[in-house]
Amino acid sequence: LPSKPFSRLTELDEVELIDLAKTDSAAFGELYERYVKRIYNYIYYRTGNHHDAEDLTARVFARALQHIPTYVDRGLPFSAWLYRIAHNLVVNWHRDRGRRKLVPLDEMVMSTLRSEAPERMTEHHEEQDLLLIAIRTLPEERQQLLILKFVERLPNAEIGEIMGRSEGAIKSLYHRTLLSLRDEIEHLQQSARKKNHRGGRDRRSNTSED
């Protein structure tokens, strides 16, 4: 087994590399090296934890390996194909686990933050936690847009290719995403205030009964 991809492979362009990867393990290894971190990041922010991100990343590349012999270049970046596989697996993952967007996700995000990065949790602003929770309540394509834009730092043109939209449509979708994110944050803040208010009232009534 090749321990590292051959140096000449790193010089190949994507189309040549994909062609070679259909029959050559080292070429597939080079493709893997190029995209594994991006796919991992994408899945991490869609699932909210490292364990599932690792599991699903492995499945993405296993599926890519299985189907690469029949891969047809349609002029889109190879990453678009990988993101499509990742997206489908994440959707299945959410469906299988019954992790619906609204009910348990906020708790899941908070517990993930607490368990995986306690030091980060203490430093984290309340606002940022709320933002992460709000992001997970957005429709899938809007979550995808935010991850591709901020985590992957892809230009709008590439995001458009991945999501099958024009550059202008991506800008417009981003604007709408910000608007719904703002509304969602307001909604979450309001429900948190109501919860606090109710909690305080219950505590007061308990003390008066005592």
């Binding site: 087994l1 090749p2 991992y40 490292h50 606002e127 901020f150 800008k171």
Partner: protein, 136 residues
Amino acid sequence: MPREKQQKIDKESLEQALDRHAEALFKRRAGSDATPYKQNAEAATLFHLNKELHAALVPVEPSDSFIEQLRIGLMVTHGTEMTRRKRVRPSKRLNLLQAAFSVFTFATLIAKILAPFVVVIAFLVARRRRTVSSPA
């Protein structure tokens, strides 16, 4: 200018400004795209969200051991898959040949069954023609 058209222009310029603002955040430049919208509370919130998103959505690093183990696993699978495909290829050709032979046999069998009927029908048609053409 009609109000709707003005609103559309405003919306488009806000979309452009938000996009440029996000780009400036990535490049760690002090963008001035938010300045014209300072008085507009609604737009200002969106620019603030841009900053928050930039701060919250940071790239994460998978562990090196995970990357390495997965790479090795994929290489092994790729190798096995290649060997399997090489082995499968000749048998595929054989299957194709078998299928062609089966189709040929089936077609011959059908022809053998239908041949007597075709001959009888042809005979009957010819006789009928002869009867019709000869005068009574």
